[in-house]
């Protein structure tokens, strides 16, 4: 994609009201301070890529957004509801927030189709036929409708991750979280998953994505957040961060990432 076309598309893409708010979030694992005063506001339809060295707290932060991890200080507000121990409110929020994991986490005892229809049927109370129709439409969108009646163990890693994306989308979430979605994949399968994510980004989905794929960040991110040692060090549009890093930590990180590629 040319620079001008990219700029045009990004200009056309309008960002709405804040939908995720992290306010001075703190978290400890025992003595280890893994999130330090993390504050971040993400708007509706915004696409945020979070990067940083391993152990920087980026996965922990994204997992706090749907409370797979509990934060111990500060506030997290998602879609107008603050995350607390109220499980009913929590399940409501979780059904609005799709998540894609590094290790896919498909349900191995269910077929691809059943993986996709499970939550719509049981959480959304959708009739089975309707849920299956919905699931097939998303499986077509991630380009694997022909695998619908297989089991996850019969699919390649890239296919499984695309199913995981389709499964999350079947809940028609307002936000999608990606926790290193391509890190467990063989190199030749990374592209098919990234292409699916790019297509999703272009449809206007609010996305928060932890990834090392800098090409992906450049292409779709409205904003890149760089984390290190549990805090947000820098954030801004991708070209600004990648071409003019303001801190030594980001410079070091970028040089390591680029050397790796």
């Amino acid at each position: 994609m040319s620079e001008t076309a990219l700029a045009e598309r990004q200009a056309a893409h309008t960002i709405g009201e804040p939908i995720i708010l992290l306010d001075k979030v703190n978290k400890w694992y025992g003595q280890m301070h893994v999130l330090r005063d993390v504050s971040l506001s993400i708007a509706e339809r915004e696409r945020v890529v979070v990067c940083g060295p391993s152990g920087s707290g980026k996965s922990t932060m994204i997992r706090c957004i749907n409370r797979l991890e509990k934060h111990q200080g500060g506030r997290i507000v998602v879609d107008g509801t603050e995350l607390t121990d109220d499980t009913r409110a929590l399940d409501k929020i979780r059904s609005e927030v799709g998540m894609v994991f590094q290790s896919f986490n498909l349900f191995p005892h269910l077929t691809i189709l059943q993986n996709c229809t499970l939550a719509p049927i049981w959480v959304r109370k959708m009739p089975k036929a309707e849920a299956e129709e919905l699931a097939m439409s998303y499986l077509r969108r991630v380009k694997i409708p022909e695998q619908a009646h297989k089991y996850p163990g019969q699919l390649s890693g890239g296919q499984q991750q695309r199913v995981a994306i389709a499964r999350a989308l079947c809940m028609r979430p307002r936000i999608m979280l990606f926790d290193e979605p391509t890190s467990a994949l063989d190199p030749e399968m990374i592209k098919e998953v990234l292409d699916t994510m790019i297509e999703l980004a272009e449809s206007g989905m609010t996305m928060v994505c932890v990834t090392h794929e800098m090409g992906f960040a450049r292409q779709v991110a409205d904003r890149v957040v760089f984390m290190d040692r549990g805090e947000i060090v820098e954030s801004g549009p991708p070209h600004q961060l990648f071409e003019h890093p303001a801190t030594d930590r980001l410079r070091l990180f970028l040089s390591q990432i680029l050397r790796g590629h």
Binding site: T87, S95, N105, P108, A119, V123, Y151, G153, R167, A168
Partner: protein, 368 residues
């Protein structure tokens, strides 16, 4: 097609197999010969005792007492006459003789219930109704007192139907309890529930089943107010349920523990909520993983129900031992024990075969 499937199938060659596995060295050949000799001797001894020199029937004396003298003669093997003579007592104990079709029907109902439950076609909500219905019918048949059936008090129950009641009701009630206890022990957010479950499992496991049976049937009634009469069979049944549940809970917990955390997280992330997550995602996978130890525990408890004889309940084993206490048959304990072993074996082997089939079926449906 995989490479292994292309390998040409070779006809089985017994001589070659024996040479490669049984006679591949001098010590191997020697060991094989010694073992063959031992096996043949033992087998021949059993055949001589059980068939060649066996007595199949004895004459009845003028007073109606069987003349078992022929069984006591030197060189005589098994006296199988004891089985037809005592079979009704072994199977039904003191249940009124002319009413014994009722416990017999109960046994048939139980076997039918197992067969239906084993068929995955019937694994649906209605199965629970079938279970409740069957247990109600068994209750009506055993107790009677309605539909023109004479009332038979519990202390007259015994034999095979009692063993099946104790085992079936025991495991059917213990299993759901075990799942709850296992889940409770892993409930990270409910420390009180967790502690309670740990205490329950540790205390129950800490004493032998016999001790619990004594406590339930002898000690527990002492603590009850005057006039409250606790039935011995009911007390033993409760003890078996609580005991089995503690063991099964640990088996189920092992299954829960062996699932990767990602499964639980993925279910959470979809907003399924705790109970649906457990029912639809976690338990189906965890229980499949522990089918072998689960069935192992089931088989163990099926046989352990025979411990109730210690508190004077006439289960199958107790009925058998009582049958050979009858003076004319006092020498024939071996025959009766063998007969009992065959009955126990039939049920246990069926369970074992079924679990094998179930494992295979689940393996196939996952096709990893």
């Amino acid at each position: 097609m995989s490479a292994t499937a292309l390998r040409p199938a070779r006809a089985f060659d017994p001589v070659g197999w024996a040479r490669a596995n049984l006679f591949n060295a001098w010590w191997s050949s020697a060991l094989t010969l010694v073992l063959i000799y031992a096996i043949v001797r033992a087998l021949w001894g059993f055949i001589r005792w059980g068939f060649v020199h066996a007595v199949y029937s004895v004459p009845t004396g003028a007073n109606g007492v069987p003349q078992t003298g022929v069984c006591q003669a030197a060189g005589v093997g098994a006296c199988w006459a004891v089985i037809p003579e005592k079979i009704r007592f072994i199977l039904f104990a003191f249940y009124p003789f002319d009413q014994q079709w009722r416990p017999a029907l109960c046994c048939a109902l139980f076997v039918a219930l197992y067969a239906i439950s084993a068929n995955r076609f019937f694994w649906r909500r209605e199965l629970a109704l079938i279970w409740v219905g069957t247990l109600v019918v068994v209750g009506i048949l055993m107790w009677g007192g309605v539909f023109g059936l004479p009332y038979v008090p519990q202390y007259k129950w015994g034999g095979l139907p009692l063993t099946l009641i104790l085992a079936t009701l025991g495991l059917a009630a213990a299993f759901p309890l075990a799942v709850l206890v296992a889940l409770g022990r892993r409930a990270a957010n409910l420390p009180a529930v967790r502690l309670l479950c740990v205490i329950y499992v540790e205390i129950i496991r800490g004493a032998p089943l016999i001790a619990w049976l004594f406590m339930a049937t002898v000690m527990f009634p002492l603590f009850m107010p005057e006039g409250v009469d606790i039935d011995k069979i009911l007390a033993a049944q409760v003890a078996i349920i609580l005991f089995a549940a503690a063991y099964l809970a640990e088996v189920v917990r092992a299954g829960l523990q062996s699932l990767p955390r990602g499964q639980s997280e993925a279910a959470d992330a979809l907003g399924l909520g705790y109970w649906r997550k457990m029912r639809l995602i976690i338990l189906p996978q965890a229980l499949r993983l522990v089918i072998p130890p689960l069935v192992n525990t089931f088989i163990g408890f099926f046989k352990d129900t025979s411990l109730v004889l210690i508190v004077g309940i006439f289960d199958l084993l107790k009925a058998g031992t009582t049958a050979v206490a009858d003076p004319p048959w006092q020498g024939q304990a071996n025959e009766v024990y063998l007969f009992l072993a065959v009955i126990y074996f039939a049920f246990c082997f069926a369970m074992s075969k079924y679990s094998k089939g179930l494992e295979r079926e689940f393996d196939r449906s996952r096709r990893h």
